[in-house]
Symmetry: C2
Subunit: 233 residues, 2 copies
C-alpha cells in the first residue's frame, strides 16, 4: 500500500492528538484506493462494509427515490469522513457516493470502528460530532429548501460550494471540481433549465461566469445579496 503513510492522516480531526505509533496502529487496518472520476465508491442500500476518509478529490453523495429522482445530499472534501453507516448502526449505506473527480480514499472495515472508538475516545467523539453536524446541516438545508425561493436556493448553494471547495482565480472564485447545471439542480431541488436560466441572468449582470461543468463566482457579494433577498410579502 504505497499510498498510505502516517502523514496522510495526522492532524485530521478524527486523529488529533494521536502519536505516531497510534497512527500506524490506526492505519494497519486500513487500505487506500483510487476511484476514477464518475465511479461509485458505494451504492445506496448496499451492505455497508467499510467507512471512508477522503484524502484527495471530491465525492458527491446522492440519494435516489424509488421513482429515480436524485437529490445531492452533500459534497465530501479532502480530510472528511463519509460512508459512516457503522457509526449509525445502519446495515446498509443510505446513499450512493460517486467520485466527482479522480479520488483517493482510505477505507476501514466496519469491524475496526468499535475498536478505534474504544481505544481512541477522541476518534469516537469526533465521529459523532461529525454526524451531529450533518444532522444540523441537513435540517438547515431542509428548512431552506422548503421556505426559500428557487433563486435564493441556487444562490445559497453556489455560495456554499464556493466556501467549501472554492479556488481563487483572477476572474473570481472557481468551484474546484466539475459541476453541471443538473448537479446544481439536484442540490437545490429544481430543474437544470431553471438553474441555467438563473445563471445566464447572473452572467449578464457579471455576478458569475459560466462554462461547461464550470462555475466561477465573480462577485460573491452580489451573489450574497441575491441569496439574502427575502421573498416579497
Amino acid at each position: 500500500m504505497p499510498l498510505l503513510d502516517r502523514s496522510a492522516i495526522e492532524g485530521l480531526p478524527p486523529f488529533e492528538g494521536l502519536g505516531p505509533a497510534d497512527l500506524d496502529q490506526v492505519l494497519r487496518q486500513a487500505h487506500a484506493a483510487r476511484h476514477a472520476k464518475d465511479s461509485a465508491i458505494f451504492e445506496q442500500d448496499e451492505p455497508a462494509e467499510h467507512f471512508f476518509l477522503l484524502l484527495d478529490g471530491h465525492v458527491r453523495v446522492v440519494r435516489i427515490t424509488p421513482e429515480g429522482e436524485q437529490v445531492i445530499s452533500r459534497y465530501v472534501n479532502p480530510g472528511e469522513m463519509f460512508g459512516l453507516a457503522v457509526a449509525m448502526a445502519r446495515p446498509t449505506y443510505p446513499a450512493r457516493a460517486i467520485a466527482a473527480v479522480d479520488c483517493v480514499a482510505v477505507a476501514w472495515p466496519n469491524s475496526a470502528f468499535a475498536e478505534l472508538a474504544r481505544r481512541f475516545p477522541s476518534f469516537g467523539a469526533a465521529t459523532y460530532r461529525t454526524i451531529g453536524r450533518w444532522l444540523q446541516d441537513t435540517h438547515t438545508r431542509m428548512l431552506e429548501l422548503v421556505t426559500a425561493q428557487v433563486e435564493q436556493r441556487v444562490a445559497h448553494a453556489l455560495l456554499r460550494l464556493a466556501h467549501q471547495a472554492g479556488r481563487k482565480t483572477p476572474e473570481g472564485i472557481e468551484i474546484d471540481f466539475p459541476i453541471t447545471r443538473q448537479d446544481i439542480a439536484e442540490m437545490t431541488a429544481t430543474t437544470l433549465h431553471t438553474v441555467s436560466r438563473l445563471m445566464s441572468a447572473w452572467e449578464d449582470k457579471g455576478i458569475v461566469l459560466g462554462g461547461r461543468q464550470k462555475v466561477i463566482i465573480a462577485d460573491p457579494h452580489g451573489l450574497m445579496l441575491i441569496a439574502e433577498q427575502r421573498p416579497r410579502h
Copy 2:
C-alpha cells in the same frame, strides 16, 4: 421528586441491560418535570444545559427561520430522548421543543452525559444510534418534501403520525394529541389552506374524519394509495 422512580425508565432502549442499582445511579442526577400544554421546554438557540427523556405526553420539535417561518421537525413520543445537543457537541439547542399536551419529561444536566456514556457504553451507543436514525429520517423526509406533490406529502405525514402516535377508535385510527391544520402544514411545507382543502376532499371520500385539532384516519389503506400515487408523467 415523587415522579421519579426506577420503573419509569427501565426497559427503555438507552437503559437496557442496566440493573436496579445502575438505574438508581442514572436517576440520581436527573430530575423530572411537568410541562404544561403549549409551553416551551427549550428554545431554539438557547444554551443547551440539559438533555431529556419524555415519559408521558407528546412534544413538538420546531425549527424557525430568521424570517419567522416554521417547520415541524418531528414529534417526540413517550420513551424517546430529545434535546440531545450535548451528544452532537452543540452549545445551543437547534430547535424549539413545545409540549403538544401536558407532558412529563426527565432532564439530565449535560455534564452527566459523558459520565453516563463512559460508565454505561450501551447508553452511549443507543444515543448515537438514535441520532443516526434522526439523520436518516431527516434525509428521507427531505427527499419526500422536494420530490413529492403536496397531496402525497400530506398523506404520508398523516400515515406517519398514525403509525407513531395512533390510537384505535371505533371510527378509525386517531392521532393521540391535538393537531391543527396549521401543524400539518408545517410538517409538509405547505399552507393550512391546502391541507384543509385536501382533508375536506378526503373526508368526502370517507378516508379521514376531521374535527377541531383532531384527525381520525378511517381508511388507512385508502390513504396509503393516495400516498403512493406517482406524480403523473
